[in-house]
Subunit: 155 residues, 2 copies
């Protein structure tokens, strides 16, 4: 089990699985959660900078989460206490049916919580690439993780 | 058509539609995009602070987007140029099957882009409440919008 003390700044984790973006899934997600015309229809999308049917940015975030969760499964379990949320989520380039996505995450910082010494806060920068190695999404995820030895002064 | 010049800081928009969170939809979304045990199964969730099956935070974000898009449909169309992304996305309280969500958005700032004078950047703070008026999600959305008269000095 990995705890706060085991985290090494700069560690990069690459997703084992890639994600194939399909037309059916793009339309299904957008139909439920982001029914803007350019996420549902090529003709409507042609009138915008997207040019053709594109995935909702929230769908790209969801596909990213799937890749991340599967990546965690291949690692040693961590004493995670959940995530309060995400910062700087940026949709950098459109995502289209036919794209294949992959994700990388880098641990960029960690600190102990001042108010709750048994918990640490870690920040992970995730970058999602398409098949042309173009960056389509970036975000900074905040994660809470247990401290193995809360009485220590480790920072 | 609403342009950058028509935006009024402090304007609050409430979603007309609420969103009923169902067990089937929670499991379906998590199965595809966030297959962590506490988003799939009551027994697994009972071992965590969630207590019972809870929605993925990304699912809550997706449900929020649906409410926002439907809210836009009831307003005057805006000269939107898309969204570069979101900041300070925070999952404040768990969301459970049986919850009913509603969303409010407040325009908190706007400015013209320095590099591209025909575009403005707006920031909207969205707050999502459950049926007990507890805040479950907050985020700051960045939006790009066209300036009606780019040659003017309006700020």
């Amino acid at each position: 089990m990995r705890y706060y003390e085991d985290l090494v700044i700069g560690t990069v984790t690459k997703s084992d699985r890639t994600y194939d973006v399909t037309r059916e899934e793009v339309i299904e997600f957008a139909g439920k959660y982001d029914p803007q015309p350019f996420h549902l229809d090529d003709e409507a999308a042609a009138k915008t900078h997207f040019g053709r049917l594109s995935a909702s940015g929230w769908h790209t975030a969801a596909m990213t989460m799937r890749m991340m969760v599967e990546g965690w499964r291949t690692q040693e379990p961590s004493a995670s206490l959940g995530s309060p949320g995400v910062d700087e989520l940026r949709w950098r380039k459109p995502v289209y049916p036919g794209d294949t996505l992959r994700a990388e995450s880098k641990l960029i910082s960690k600190r102990r919580m001042n108010s709750r010494r048994e918990m640490g806060l870690m920040k992970t920068e995730t970058t999602v690439y398409n098949q042309n190695d173009e960056i389509v999404l970036t975000m900074v995820s905040n994660g809470l993780i247990a401290v193995r030895d809360p009485d220590s002064d480790v920072e």
